[in-house]
Amino acid sequence: MALKQISSNKCFGGLQKVFEHDSVELNCKMKFAIYLPPKAETEKCPALYWLSGLSCTEQNFITKSGYHQAASEHGLVVIAADTSPRGCNIKGEDENWDFGTGAGFYVDATENPWRTNYRMYSYVTEELPQLINANFPVDPQRMSISGHSMGGHGALICALKNPGKYKSVSAFAPICNPVLCPWGKKAFSGYLGTDQSKWKAYDATYLVKAYPGSQLDILIDQGKDDNFLSDGQLLPENFIAACTEKKIPVVFRLQEGYDHSYYFIATFITDHIRHHAKYLNA
């Protein structure tokens, strides 16, 4: 598992790097970005995994969100993964912006022709962490996860499917109930087939209902002027209702005037970094 450094830039005393590697799970070359805070020079730091939204690469978050200062101060290693396998030459993979390339949905596909490469769930929960733990000064016991939109969905399901694995979870405008939204229906039927009972295993709202109740503090920010909210793609109400019923701690902040963009993320990223730092550095 050789790592190939693509770039390295000093940022807030630390280093923002991008690497390329051959992914076993995805069967292709994958890039990921990693920020090493100054503290990582001397000790192992906790890791925060960031999952981006539809059509994004590892670049969006590291160039637009402005998370570096907070990560530098709290001493967090931040890993930003790509959103799907790349260049797998599957027919139709580049035809849609909300399916295929750039839209992996953080599931392990069971349907052909996607099942060989589109194993993003295993990639972000298993392969990538192992790779990071083996190659960077991170503490394997302390990891958290966050994401935006489809990545927010990814972050929520990763945390809910693996109680105790992540110290905390947060999301920006996550797709909370993909089973019921157009994006989710399209993606899940494509990757998982028509059996909707299989879909529930990747749906945060359903997962909450079965969550065994390990301590998990969820922070969600949602822009009130987010078109996808009004289009019914995100459905946070359903998730909140489920969490209220199951007494899963969520603070859901509906932010007046904000949309779905990285401007919105940049506004509140510091709060999220602190949210994770509170648990990772406790």
Partner: protein
Amino acid sequence: MTSEPRGAVKGKPQRDLEEDVDELVHLYGLEDDDELGDEFVNVNTPRIEISEYSPYMMARREAAMEQRDWRCSGEAAEAEDLSFGGWGSEGQCQDLREAYRYTHGRASEEYECYVIPEEEDEEEAADVFCVTCKTPIRALEKVLDEHKEHEVIPLSKALESAKDEIHKNMYKLETQIIEMENFASHLEEVFITVEENFGRQEQNFEYHYNEILETLAQKYESKIQALVEKKKERLEALYGQLVSCGENLDTCKELMETVEEICHEEKVDFIKDAMAMADRLRQFLETKTDVEISAQPALEDQNLDFSDVEQLLGSINTIPAPSAPVINPQAPNSATGSSVRVCWSLYSDDTVESYQLSCRPVQEGSRGKDQAEFTMTVKETYCSVTNLVPNTQYEFWVTAQNRAGVSPASECAVYMTAPSPPVIKTKEVRSCEEAALICWESGNLNPVDSYTVELTQAETPGASGVTESVVGIPTCASLVQLQPRQSYTIYVRALNVGGPSARSEPATVHTTGSYFRLNEQTCHPWLTVSEDGLTAVRSERRTPAGEPPPSNTHFTRCVAVMGDLIPVRGRHYWEVEVDEHLDYTVGVAFEDVPKQEELGANCLSWCMRHTWAKPRHKYEFLHNKMTPDIRITVSPKKIGILLDYENSKLSFFNVDISQHLYTFSCQLHQFVHPCFSLEKPGCLKIHNGISMPKHVTFY
């Protein structure tokens, strides 16, 4: 002048040291005994009498010249153990004499033994030292018979020990000189005292003898005058008698002549005249001639009365009545709450048997006779007057008395008792990690000068903590800087010119977290605050009888109460226990927040409001009537509130799951207080004085 003997000792070069010692000894009349014998024969009694101070006098004036003269007098005194009788102990004298002998003897010995042989080195180099003979010898000589059995040591060693010895002796000599100097200055003092005492006695005698002479002169004058007057009176009387006697004689002679003439007259005429004459004679003879001597020549027995003179004479040797003592102003810190220590002094030549100290409380305006005045008799020149009223001025004056009489009264001096101890308002004590605010009641009706706060840190049980004091506090409250996470015992004292009061009852402060109580003065009438000041209850039964009238101090619309948070910038954390189904508001507000408005409905308050409209819990974070849209899935049972002045933030937490709920950014231009409101019957329980949980420190 008196420092001359010492000056002489110091001034002379080192080589004269021995001489100096000699001279010093001469100066103080401390000569060796053998010399004493020679001089002793010259001694006579009158000399002994003057010896008490005459040597000293001369030493001061013409030390060198008179040396011999006074030396012998000194010796004489010494010989008869009189020399120091009046101004030094015999033992001291003996010590000095021995000390002198020691230094004198040793010094010369050293010169002879060690110094001189060194000079003889040229002849033949001695290389060892014979301890027995105390002389350096050549090693060769050791084998010779003279030193054969003797103990020898190397010359260098001998030299070293000899030098050591010299140094030791020099040190002793120095010590001796210092002692001598001290003794001289002591003598000097004694001299002055004696001089003064005798001077006073002289004055006393002069005064009394003058008084007697005056009395005698007066007596003489009056006696003489009386005598002259008497003499004049008597002589005048006698003269008058003499004159009238002469007149009578003339009358008699004239009558005689007339009768004779009648006898030679004719019968008829004779008879006529004789009848007339006979009447005249009878008339004359009937007038009695006074032949008693009106004044006796002899003097009456003059009884001279000298009793008053005798009394005056007698009084010369008895003591005079003392003069008025001088009462001292009050010494600082000499009073207690119930007593003062009054001090005074007498004129040193007065003999006083006792003093009468009088006392009267000073009261503004009416310094009447009704003021209780009391007097006590004491022997000392001070008196601790007890059973007084605290923080009160008393006027004192004192008279001295002895057998001869009572002195006039001293001036009046005003003394003040220390105040009563203040009373710490333990319910108003508040603290945070860095400080405590202590409030107290004066405990005194009259104002006091200032207060002192004393704090003792009870770091570990049993360890005697050091007491720190904050002094000069003008008001009945003090913000005391403290160390975090410690326990302190705090006392307050009140001070006035008389001194500090006793300590107040202690108050205990723990500087863990911030500690405050609910302020009942801000409390809405429908709320009750528990005894410990940490629980606010809105009762079910109470049926609100309309809205209470507006007020500036207590809440009138929202059923709220404020906590008294210590006015210290920094971080404060407290927790509130709530019921999930209770409608409540918790947060902070400025002290002058409008009390007739809801909390969060203005710019002066920031708070979290919970309303439960089944099945939903609604959480609002209100400031100026606005709230962000925030959904919380787990209802907190305990809300943590972090007030951070430094970062201008107010944060809310769900304590049980360490969940951050919301953070206000607020401009806290002045101090805020915690506030709590109950929109429905129920209760809020505050937990404070607790450490800030770690998760809170991230906000």
